[in-house]
């Protein structure tokens, strides 16, 4: 049977990267390619206890249909956490999703007509780029100079080619690990506000903070709901659960409700209740501190190893949080071509090209430090430098 697909399917390309990275899953390969949190840090017994408690309460509603926007006590809990971060919000402004990926999908569905422009950082989160592409968006890049975001150029760009939305991951960005300064955040907000352009602030790593104080989220600086904030439990609890949230004004929440109802009715009731139990009966803050410590150690370790092995071969970011370091080799390298050699040498990374919206030759790569064990970091970085030198 010959199936006739919709045009948008042409934009849902399977990343060649996925195929290559399947090789990275083999046990002998040291992988810096995944975007995985460290599994041994999942609070397994607390999660197990939470599930046991909510299932053991004799209340069948825990397995019943639920409201689309989400379990109210959990929304209240999340809104309290948001307020603690300086985001003025109530339970009514919180919308639960199957992870921030779904948040991205629903928002894009609501805002992007084919041909609409998304203004974003380049490089940017691959999952977001793919989602925007699947709705046939066009892209524009937020202009930068050595000082960071170039606000004059940004305003000019917006005037000439108004985007529908702006997508930003301002804190410990995937893939570069960089963080926008307060000045940059306010500049983008000011300009977006002026031209009436909504901003999606994607913040999966905000809690994975190793050095300085947290910078205020862009949402917390906004006065008029210009910013739609995406949060998730994937990195602080466990990614396999699929639970995230959107902070937005009520009229947008109402639209999200309608959109999500058509998509999957609601996010798992059991999951929401168990998560609420976890947040209110266990010390989530302590757990996050444990994660921070562990990842900080691995970050430092990787930075040290990079210094040891790459100091005259490359430059790299020194992120103060998150899960990734962005390494840039000299211009002559094309990391897409380098990858098969690396895999043959049993080390994996993600070539930078996959995080850009425009084609080109890139000498950058994304290295994940949260997942590999310290020993593997040492070994892997050394291996990588050998492979690079030999190329």
């Amino acid at each position: 049977m010959q199936y006739t697909y919709a045009e948008r399917v042409n934009y849902m390309a399977n990343s060649a990267i996925r195929e290559l990275l399947k090789i990275a899953e083999q046990p002998q390969v040291i992988s810096f390619a995944g975007g995985l949190p460290a599994a041994e840090l999942f609070p397994l017994s607390e999660i197990k206890e939470s599930y046991a408690q909510v299932l053991g309460a004799g209340d069948p509603s825990v397995l019943q249909y639920g409201t689309t926007e989400g379990y109210l006590p959990l929304r209240e809990e999340i809104s309290a956490q948001m307020r603690a971060k300086g985001i003025q919000t109530e339970a009514d402004n919180i919308f639960l999703t199957n992870g921030s990926q779904q948040g991205l999908d629903l928002i894009t569905k609501l805002f992007i007509n084919p041909g609409d422009v998304v203004l974003l950082q380049n490089p940017s989160y691959l999952g977001a780029i793919q989602t925007f592409r699947s709705y046939q968006a066009n892209f524009d890049t937020i202009p930068t100079n050595e000082a960071g975001i170039d606000d004059l150029a940004l305003e000019l760009l917006i005037k000439q080619n108004p985007p529908k939305i702006i997508y930003l991951a301002p804190t410990y960005q995937n893939p570069t690990g960089t963080t926008l300064t307060l000045k940059e955040r306010k500049a983008v907000l000011r300009i977006a506000s002026k031209y009436g352009i909504p901003i999606i602030e994607d913040d999966p790593y905000g809690e994975l903070r190793y050095d300085d104080e947290a910078l205020p989220s862009i949402r917390s600086c906004s006065t008029d709901n210009e910013v739609i904030y995406l949060g998730t439990f994937s990195k602080t609890l466990a990614p396999g659960l699929r639970l995230g949230w959107i902070v937005a004004e009520k009229s947008l929440i109402a639209k999200l409700v309608v959109a999500k109802q058509g998509t999957d009715l609601h996010t798992s009731t059991l999951l929401q209740r168990a998560t609420h139990y976890y947040l209110t009966h266990f010390n989530a803050v302590e757990h996050i501190k444990t994660i921070r410590q562990a990842y900080k150690f691995r970050r430092d370790y990787m930075l040290t190893e990079l210094e040891e092995n790459f100091s005259d071969q490359a430059i790299w970011t020194k992120p103060s949080g998150g899960m990734f370091i962005w390494l840039t080799l000299p211009e002559r390298y094309d990391t897409v071509n380098l990858l098969p050699h690396a895999l043959a040498g049993n080390v994996a990374f993600v070539p930078g090209a996959h995080f850009f919206t425009y084609n080109g030759k890139y000498s950058s790569m994304r290295l994940n430090f949260s997942n590999p064990a310290p020993q593997q970091i040492k070994q892997g970085i050394k291996l990588l430098s050998t492979i690079v030198a030999a190329y």
């Binding site: 049977m1 046991a52 397995l63 409201t67 805002f111 529908k164 506000s193 396999g240 699929r242 109802q261």
Partner: protein
């Protein structure tokens, strides 16, 4: 001043006018001091009510963009001085709040908000009996067993159950389903099964990969309202085929197919939601014949076939399909419980791959832990143990509803008796509209879904859907009593047709 109104989209006309004038003012095409046309004149030139223009102007005045002046008319205001509290804005113009209305996609404008606001009142809170929500009975949820399985799966070293997983789904669960379906005549393998976040997601993904706005599809009428909503939101042109006691009328379908090329045919052939009918074997064969003849895929939605109360159900279309034309959707929601959001899709590999790609972008994968626990639950034989219990119980509940109707129904009310599934589909006495009954019934604390929710166009107003799966026999009897009372009251006092106060439902209506 040129304004364009689009009456085909859902945005109210006054908002369209308001936002276009706003844009013109902000772009300085209507400079300060510009005099707007008088309301009556603009209304005439646009072909709208004067009130529409009045409302639009009112909004603009409230935002400080225009100002009425006695004797001079309505003038565009000069830009506001900067609000001192917005200190970080250097521009002198007031920052307008985002007019979200202008941002939404054409698709989102089409999103179907069912006749009833889709939020269901908290059941039990105020003694209300709902026959509306298509939900299984909570009393029979195997909570204890499920809890024990969860504890077992979440053992200390099993962090894998909490990691990111493959989009296509947890292999052991897919393998279990492949075996389970094969036992039911649907021979398939793990590789051709995708785990979804409920069959609603299955529908949504199929729509994403197949439907462009304007594409034709064919559905039964009446049909599942969740499907209608998704298809409408995608901008599909929906062609309907009526259903009789043998199911979808294939003669009508044939006529449609000879004239149109739909992207697919959507059917719920066994214990249909809402009508309860089952497509006869002859019709199943005929439907497949037509699909092969005209090269049209069939989407078979099958949530209820395990819930048979008389004989075992007929073979699924998918199990009869020899040429890869059927895409099959199943779910745990109605046979077990809905709260986990777990379903499956069986499709030809090529289609499955596309669905997977689409799903990856929507939510990466369905919850790993939910799949692990469900796989273990099923492998321990607990699903098979559960099914006969609910089959027996729901049969009793169906019978209780039929008995109560037989006893209490006033003249003119009729109903189907399904051989399985969840619903009785009732026809109201002549001239009575479901919408009117809804209000009256709500006063008596009983609800249902009005039939027009299951129709694409304007039919079904004289029908109602009653779900018997959810409540005990006693509650069903009480609810039917109240409902029949409401019907009788309207019959005796026909002026009680009043306006409907839409009941609010807090759970999605399925």
């Amino acid at each position: 001043m040129k304004l364009h109104l689009d009456r085909s989209i859902k945005t109210p006309l006054y908002l369209q006018i308001e936002s276009q004038i706003r844009q013109l003012i902000l772009a300085n095409d209507l400079p300060p001091g510009f005099r707007l046309p008088p309301e009556r004149k603009l209304a005439t030139s646009l072909g709208v009510n004067r009130t529409t223009v009045v409302n639009a102007y009112h909004e603009l005045v409230a935002d400080g963009l225009i100002q009425p002046h006695v004797g001079k008319g309505t003038i565009v205001s000069p830009p506001q001085p900067a609000n001192p509290s917005l200190g970080h804005f250097s521009n002198a113009k007031a920052i307008q709040p985002i007019s979200w209305q202008n941002f939404y996609t054409r698709q989102s404008e089409r999103m179907h908000n069912p006749v009833l606001a889709s939020i269901l009142d908290e059941i039990g809170e105020n003694d209300e009996i709902s026959f509306a929500l298509g939900s299984p009975a909570g009393e029979y949820y195997p909570l204890e067993e499920f809890k024990e399985i969860s504890k077992k799966v979440m053992r200390p070293d099993n962090w894998r159950a909490f990691e990111y997983g493959p989009t296509i789904g947890h292999y052991p669960l897919r393998q279990y389903l492949a075996d389970w379906l094969s036992q039911r005549g649907l021979h398939t393998q793990a590789q051709t099964i995708l785990i979804t976040s409920g069959s609603q997601q299955g529908l949504d993904l199929l729509t994403k990969i197949f439907l462009e706005p304007g594409d034709y599809i064919v559905i039964e009428e009446p049909s599942f309202l969740g499907a209608i909503g998704v298809f409408k939101a995608a901008g599909a042109h929906i062609l309907t085929v009526p259903v009789d006691q043998e199911g979808l009328k294939t003669d009508v379908l044939e006529q449609i197919l000879s004239r149109h090329r739909p992207k697919f045919i959507y059917t719920l052939p066994t214990f249909q939601n809402p009508s309860g009918t089952t497509m006869s074997l002859a019709r199943r064969h005929k439907l497949l014949e037509l699909a092969y003849q005209y090269h049209i895929p069939i989407v078979e939605d099958d949530p209820y076939s395990e819930l048979y109360y008389e004989n075992e159900p007929l073979p699924s279309l998918k199990s009869l399909d020899e040429f890869g034309h059927v895409i099959y959707l199943g779910t745990f929601s109605k046979i077990l419980f809905p709260g986990l959001r777990l379903g499956w899709c069986v499709a030809p590999s090529q289609v499955l791959e596309q669905l997977s790609l689409a799903k990856q972008l929507v939510d990466l994968h369905t919850s790993t832990i939910a799949q692990w626990v469900m796989a273990e639950f099923c492998k321990q034989g607990l699903l098979d143990k559960h099914l006969p219990i609910v089959r027996n119980q729901y049969r009793l509940q169906r019978d209780a509803m039929v008995t109560a109707l037989t006893e209490f129904a006033p003249q003119g009310l009729s109903w189907t008796i399904p051989e399985g599934g969840y619903y009785l589909w009732c026809e109201l006495p002549p001239d009575m509209k479901a919408a009117a009954l809804l209000t009256r019934a709500a006063d008596k604390k009983v609800t249902f879904v009005p039939g027009n929710a299951f129709h694409v166009n304007s039919g079904g107003k004289d029908r109602i859907r009653l779900c018997f799966a959810r409540h005990s026999e006693t509650t069903i009897r009480e609810g039917i009593y109240r409902l029949c009372e409401a019907i009788s009251e309207i019959l005796n006092q026909p002026h009680l047709r009043g306006t409907t106060n839409r009941p609010r439902f807090s759970e999605p209506l399925v």
